[in-house]
Structures are given as structure tokens and as C-alpha cells.
Symmetry: C2
Subunit: 500 residues, 2 copies
């Protein structure tokens, strides 16, 4: 490319290098770092973040964006160059919306909030957290004003995590499938005794769990030459280039699911990052485009593939070879066990049928908090009432109710919907994939995952951040995000599993 | 402290944070990184190095140094503040001596030189490397002119690695003990059959080797809450703060020494860094003062402690508990085995008696190269002749002769002497320690290492880079570096081991 555009790319690559170095420091912190290293690590991360912020918000960035725009005038919307300028200009503008003093105040308040929330949860005492959460909600409402919106303050909050998405769209999508979920769960509850997951709860050697999980995700196409697997407390995936994307897992000695499905989940995230086009790597476009699209990839491999019957037709004999204690378990029993539906108070333990209901509850409360329609003081009561209405059970404590998740203590209001949108997109994309490549389910049943991964690479991964979630979804499926495919998927699966 | 000094410290801390982040990227590269990650890692390291260099060479540094100097006028030479200004000003001036274009040329030539050297060594063909080495030697001589010297160009080269040390001093120290070493080795060679190390060459489970090495260095006082141990190909120690200093090791399945003594060696380096005063951490003074002093610590724990009889009186029963195959080996046999003297062509495999001779040979050749007294083309012949004169054996190939080490291909001429100086200092410091704390040998024999480590912490570690090697040595021992103690140590040990 020409002079100024190239200069812009070099400038942005330097910033990306700093951000990726910071990501490595973060990975190390969560997987390798000895306890003593924490304080210095915090200072090192702060320096990297400060320099990256300084370099990006420097006037030089704006001038290069302006000059480069003139140079590449006439290139198509889809071109790498036009996409880079479009996305980076938005990044740049977003960064200036929040005043530095406000960002600093938010950082201070949320840093102090974390131990307060942890204490409140440990002591099951919402009152401990209430004043802090009130302050956070005030700041979050303030941030919505800074960020700007036309319809609802929640648009501004959501937009931080899912660019271009509006609260009204999310609400319409959620409203469209909430009754179906509530109904499905009620029907399942009536026949809950038909499925047991006892077979998954027994001693499983940790090293062998890991060995099997590695075989599975290597089979999926996660490239260990460009990644690795480590143990951690709260698993995550992170990358430092498309050629070094790492996953983490947590293994329990007497429960198969966390290491097995958790590793599939993180590998789904990681294969997205490994699949970004080499030309975009090291630039601001080199990475997944949004949290919802990212979650669609992790959930597709974890659930649509990893909890499917075709997959286990292929995988169960291998699992039995590693764990002979499962020798007598037939495919049907195993398939039902891994798809058991057990309404839980805890979101992170939720099955596929109930997961989105957890998110809807939180989304509704967040909308009303942002609009000032519900008070922080009323959250425990509101939480429990609404939870009971959706799930048919009432949380016995706030610790497993409104206090369960860390996000609000970090000021992350607007984040949760992306989890549910990811579930919806996973089914929507997968259905499109099998429409275009009908052999995919049979391929999965014979351990050939390359047809699905190849399709995802081509339609989603390689584009990096070039397109928003909405743009990408319309390009791929011809329509925006919808819940139809997901509900149909759940109906089919649970009709089979529970004989509804 | 006052305004400008504090501002300087903050500025330098930011630079240190960048350097330490780079160190973590380097550690990861050598211990964890998947193969695919190499290219992006190189770019990330380059960005961190460039920013650190830019921030340090910025005029701001000089102005702050000047302003801070006025503020702290009158503080003693030993104060942290005066020391910081003194050391950092020297760092700053050193960085400006080499023109940027020269540094870039040197980097390019040495980057290209590495595979050429590797090929020459693999093919045992010095002619392949000769033109490249000639170019490097020319550049190195040029760098000496840029760096400046009064007596000998080698002073400038050595000074890069051992600040303030002069070639004439090194030569005098080496000349003073070379005859004693040559004589000692000849006497040992005459009775070489008296010692066998066969007991060390047998199958040893890698995990158990590691377990024992961990127990030993934890016993020494290496703090695993502020460090960790990983496997790598070429072991090293590195730190990201005094509270996160990591060591690495290489384990061989049929030879006990590399993992055992190598881990002690790296732990010696690491305990130095872990012992730097907290007040200096995160500043340019937070780290070991010179390569020679660093090596004195690694060699003291590896050899003076780790290859001593008192130590094994305590440790051998524990080693036997882990490796029952050693049950029949008595202390005397084991002690002799780990102290066997076997003149080797290869420096990195050298025993204590021959190690410094390897360095002297290289030092003499480097001096003459720098002064233009020996030609690159003549190096193989010169090497072999001199090696034979010192060791009594002649290298059969250049691959195990003049081509064995990587340093020259990287332009590192002036580095080798620090290894030998470290050996000398290890004995000099240890003798001072037992003069002041006579219980140390008995403490070691009962597994109490805290008396020695405490003394090292107080006299050496806590000072970080405040004093040069020479200043530190004179403060501690009342004289400059000398070979008397090291030769006496070797004479005593090998008289016992070989019954001389």
C-alpha cells in the first residue's frame, strides 16, 4: 500500500505489539506466575496499558487516519484497507468519549469494589455490597451519557461490548424466545427422572482427562503448534498472534464435564483467533469481531458439536479406551447424561436449556437499573421473584442469587447479553453451514471436523474484525440474529433426550 | 524524596517495567511458547526494546538527571539516591557512545552470523565462518574506538560487560594463577585413575531428579513463592522483579549432574536477584551489579557449597532416599565422583580445575584480536596450539575447538573473562563469609544454609547495582579481586579428592 496508509499500519502494529505483550503478561499471571509476582506484574501491565493508550490517542493516529483515508478512497467497503480505517476510526472515537478523569474514577471504584463484592458473597450479605454497587450503577449511568445514545441508555452500555447492537433488538430477540424456553423447561421438569448423569460423576484420573481433551480439540482442528493448554482456576483463551493462541482448563478429579467441555469451549474461541487471515494479524483487525460472535464459536464446538450424538458415536469408544470404567455405558445413556437439564441457581453451571434464561433475567434487571426503574436496594427481592417465575425455583441465598457473578463489581453492565446472543448465533451459523455443506453431521460422526472448521474459517474467522456481528451474520445467513434456529435446535435435542 | 528526583524515579520505573515485560516475553519464548509464536514474539520484543530505548535516551532523562543531582547534592556516595544517579548517568552516557547506525549494522551482521557459525560448527569447517568473523572483529574493533579507552582497546570491550574493569587487571589476575592451574592439572592427570564418576552415569528418573533439585534449592533459600522452575534447552535464570525470579533446568535421563548442579547454579543467580533490597526493586538499581559478581553467586552455590563434603554429608542420605540405586555408594566415593577432573575440549563441560584455563585461552586470543596481533584466519591453529600447551591434549576438530561457543558470532568479545572472575570471587567472598561467620561450614553440614545466604544478602544482594564489582569486593574483603583464595580452595579440594 501507499505511504500514509502504510505508516498508519506500522503505527497500529506497534500498539498491537504492546497490547499483545500485555496479554502475555496476563496469561502468565493466571497460569504460571508465582504468588510473589503480583505487585510488580500490576505495575508492568499498567505501564503497557498507559503507553498503548498514549500512542493510540496521540494526534498522530488521527492525522494518519485522515491522510490514509484520502489515499485509499474508492476501495470497496469489504477491502482490508477500508475496513481497517472504518474499525480503527470507531475505536479511536470511542476512546475519547469517556473523559480521562472519569475512566480513572471508574477504575478506582471498581478496583476497590472487587473485595467488597467477594466479602458480600462469602458472607451472603447483600447489604455489604449495596453502597458500592449503588456508586457503580451511578457511574455506569454516567458513562452511558458520555458514550451517547438515542433510544435507551442501555444502548450505550451494550455497545461497549457488542458494537452496533441496540437494547431494543436484544429485547425483541429475548422476548421472542423466552416463552419457548420457559415452556421447554417446564416440560422437561415434569419428566426429569428420565435422565441421570451419575456416570459423569465418578473418579477420573486428571492426566487422562487432559489427554482425552487434548485429543478431542486437536481433532477439532485446534493447532497445538500455534497454541498450548494449561491449568487455571477460571479457564479462558487468549492470544498473542494468530500463531500463538492459548487455552486453559480446570480439571476436577470426580466430574468429567469441566475439563472436557470446558476445553472444547476454549478451543472454539481459540480456533477463531487461529483462523484470522495472516494479512490482518498484528493489526487492530487481527482478532474476533465481537463477544457474541466469539461465544458462538465456543458454544458451537462445546455444545452443537461436543454434546451431539454424531460426535459421541465417534468419540465414546476413544473415551472408553482411556477410561475403561465407562466400558458398560452405551451411547444413548452417555448422550443423555451430558445433556441433562437441571435448573441451577448458578449461571456458569447452567445447561443449554436454561442458560439463556439466566441471561434474560440479568438483562432485564440491567435495563431497569440503567433506566432508573429498579433500585439497587431492591435487587435481591427482584432477583429472587423473577428467578422463581422463570425457573420454578427460588434461590435460597443471595450468594447463589444476585451476588453470584463478578461482572457488576467491575462495572460491566451491558456484557451479559453477549453470552445469550452467542448461543443463538451458534445454531444460526451451524444451520447455515449444514445447508451449504450437508455432509457436516456425517463428517462429525466419523471424526472429520475439517469440513465444519473450514466453513467457519472461510465465513467467519478469516475476516477478523472487518465486519460487525450484524454485518457478518447478514453476509453469512442473509438475516440478522434470530432465536428461531436455537429454539428449534433445543426442541429437537431435548425431545430426543427426554422423550417429550 | 523531593520533586525532580521522584520524577526521575517514576520515569526510570516505567522504563524498567518495559524491560521486565520484555524479559517475561523472553522467558516465555524459551520455556512455554509454541513454535508458531516465534515471528510475532520477535516483533513484540522489538517494540518493547525500541520504546524502552526511546524513553531512556529521551532528553527528558538527561534533564531529570541534572535537576535531581542538584536536589540530592550532599547525600553520601553510598546512599540509594546518589548511587541511582551515578549508575544511571553512566548507563545513559554508555548508550550514546555507539551511533545508532553502527548499532543497527552490528545487529544485522550478528543476526546473519548466527546461522553461519552454526553451519560452520556442524560441518567442522572454519572457512565457512571466517569471512563473517573477520567482519565481526572489524566491527568490534570499531566499537572499541566509539566506546573509548586509554590503555588497550579491550578495556572498552570488557567494560561493556564488567563496568570499570580493565584488561591489564584481568591479565594480571589470570597470569597470577595460570601456572598454578596448569601445574594442578598435570598432577591430577598423573593420578587420574584414582577417581571415577561412573555412579553419576546411570538411569535416573527425570521427575525424581527434579524433585530432589527442588528440595535442595528450596533448602538453600531459593524462594518458590517468588520463583519457579521450568525445563529448557539452555538453562538460565531471569527475573521480572525481586519477587518473581525464575530458574530453568535441563534434565538428562542417564546423568545426574546437569539437572542437579545446573539447578543449584541458576538458583545462585536467582537468590542474588531475590535478595535485592525492596527499595531498589523496579528501578535501574534493582538487579545484580555485574556478570562476574552474578557468576560468583551461581558458582558458590553450585561448587563451593554444592560440591563440598559438608553439604553431601547432609544431602546424600536424602538423595539415596529418592534414588535407592545409590544405596551402596559411600560419601567419599560420591564426593570424589562429583569432583572428577577430566580435561575436556568443551568449556561448558569443564570441571572446576580446568574451567579458568578455558577462559584464559579465549581471553588471550580476544586481546590479540582486538589489538590486531592475531588474524582471524590463524585462529584455528592458534587455538589448538595454545589449548595443547595448557591442557596437554589437542582438539581433534575445530568444532570442539575454536568454533565451540556462540559468543563471537553475536559480537560478544569481552564477555568470557567474567566467567573466570566469577569463580575467583566465589572463593574470595566465601572465605570472607566464614571468617565473619565461622559456623557456616558446620551449618551447611546440617542443612542450615541461612547463615551463608543471610551473609550474602547483607553484603552483596541487597545493594543491587549500587556498587561496581570492584567497589563491592573492596567493601566486603578489603582488597580487589584476586586468585589466591580460589587457588587455595582448588588445592585443598583436589589434594583431598586425588590424594595429591
Amino acid at each position: 500500500m501507499t505511504g500514509k496508509y502504510q505508516e498508519l499500519v506500522v503505527h497500529l502494529q506497534e500498539i498491537t505489539n504492546l497490547n499483545r505483550a500485555g496479554a502475555l503478561l496476563g496469561w502468565d499471571q493466571r497460569t504460571q506466575m508465582p504468588p510473589g509476582g503480583a505487585a510488580a506484574r500490576g505495575r508492568q501491565l499498567a505501564t503497557l496499558a498507559r503507553l498503548s493508550h498514549e500512542m493510540f490517542t496521540d494526534e498522530k493516529t488521527l492525522h494518519l487516519l485522515d491522510d490514509a483515508a484520502k489515499e485509499i478512497e474508492g476501495l470497496s467497503y469489504d477491502s482490508d484497507q477500508a475496513s481497517l480505517l472504518r474499525v480503527v476510526r470507531q475505536d479511536y472515537e470511542d476512546l475519547f468519549k469517556l473523559p480521562a478523569a472519569f475512566v480513572a474514577e471508574m477504575a478506582e471504584v471498581t478496583t476497590l469494589a472487587h473485595p467488597v463484592w467477594a466479602q458480600a458473597r462469602a458472607e451472603n450479605n447483600f447489604a455489604v455490597f449495596q453502597p458500592t454497587l449503588e456508586r457503580i450503577v451511578e457511574l455506569v449511568k454516567q458513562s452511558a451519557e458520555y458514550l451517547g445514545y438515542t433510544d435507551h441508555p442501555y444502548d450505550a452500555l451494550l455497545g461497549q461490548f457488542e458494537r452496533g447492537m441496540k437494547a431494543a433488538e436484544v429485547k425483541a430477540i429475548f422476548d421472542a424466545h423466552k416463552p419457548a424456553l420457559v415452556d421447554l423447561i417446564a416440560r422437561i421438569r415434569a419428566v426429569s427422572s428420565r435422565v441421570s448423569d451419575a456416570v459423569l460423576h465418578q473418579p477420573f484420573d486428571i492426566d487422562r482427562q487432559r489427554q482425552f481433551a487434548v485429543e478431542v480439540v486437536r481433532g477439532f482442528g485446534y493447532d497445538f503448534n500455534r497454541g498450548r493448554l494449561d491449568e487455571t482456576v477460571h479457564p479462558f483463551a487468549t492470544g498473542f498472534s494468530r500463531d500463538d493462541v492459548r487455552i486453559t482448563t480446570r480439571s476436577l478429579p470426580e466430574f468429567l464435564n469441566p475439563a472436557l467441555f470446558g476445553t472444547m469451549h476454549e478451543a472454539g474461541h481459540a480456533m477463531y483467533e487461529q483462523g484470522v487471515a495472516a494479512e490482518l494479524d498484528g493489526t487492530p483487525l487481527g482478532g474476533g469481531t465481537s463477544l457474541a460472535v466469539h461465544e458462538s464459536q465456543s458454544r458451537m464446538w462445546e455444545n452443537i458439536v461436543g454434546r451431539s450424538k454424531p460426535f459421541w458415536a465417534w468419540a465414546l469408544p476413544q473415551l472408553k479406551a482411556i477410561f475403561p470404567q465407562l466400558g458398560g455405558v452405551d451411547l444413548d445413556t452417555f448422550y443423555k447424561a451430558i445433556n441433562i437439564v437441571k435448573p441451577s441457581y448458578i449461571r456458569v453451571e447452567a445447561d443449554e436449556a436454561t442458560y439463556n434464561l439466566h441471561i434474560m433475567l440479568r438483562f432485564e434487571l440491567e435495563m431497569e437499573l440503567a433506566a432508573g426503574k429498579v433500585k439497587v436496594a431492591d435487587l435481591p427481592q427482584e432477583w429472587n421473584d423473577r428467578f422463581e417465575a422463570s425457573f420454578g425455583i427460588r434461590p435460597p441465598t443471595d450468594a447463589v442469587g444476585v451476588l453470584q457473578d463478578i461482572h457488576w463489581s467491575g462495572g460491566m453492565i451491558g456484557y451479559f447479553p453477549t453470552y445469550a446472543l452467542g448461543n443463538l448465533l451458534s445454531a444460526q451459523y451451524y444451520n447455515q453451514a449444514i445447508r451449504e455443506v450437508p455432509s457436516i453431521p456425517d463428517d462429525i460422526a466419523s471424526g472429520r471436523f475439517v469440513t465444519l472448521l473450514g466453513w467457519l474459517n472461510d465465513r467467519i474467522h478469516r475476516h477478523g474484525r472487518k465486519f460487525t456481528a450484524d454485518e457478518l451474520t447478514r453476509r453469512i445467513t442473509g438475516e440478522g440474529i434470530q432465536s428461531r434456529d436455537y429454539i428449534a435446535y433445543l426442541e429437537t435435542k431435548f425431545t430426543e433426550v427426554y422423550g417429550l
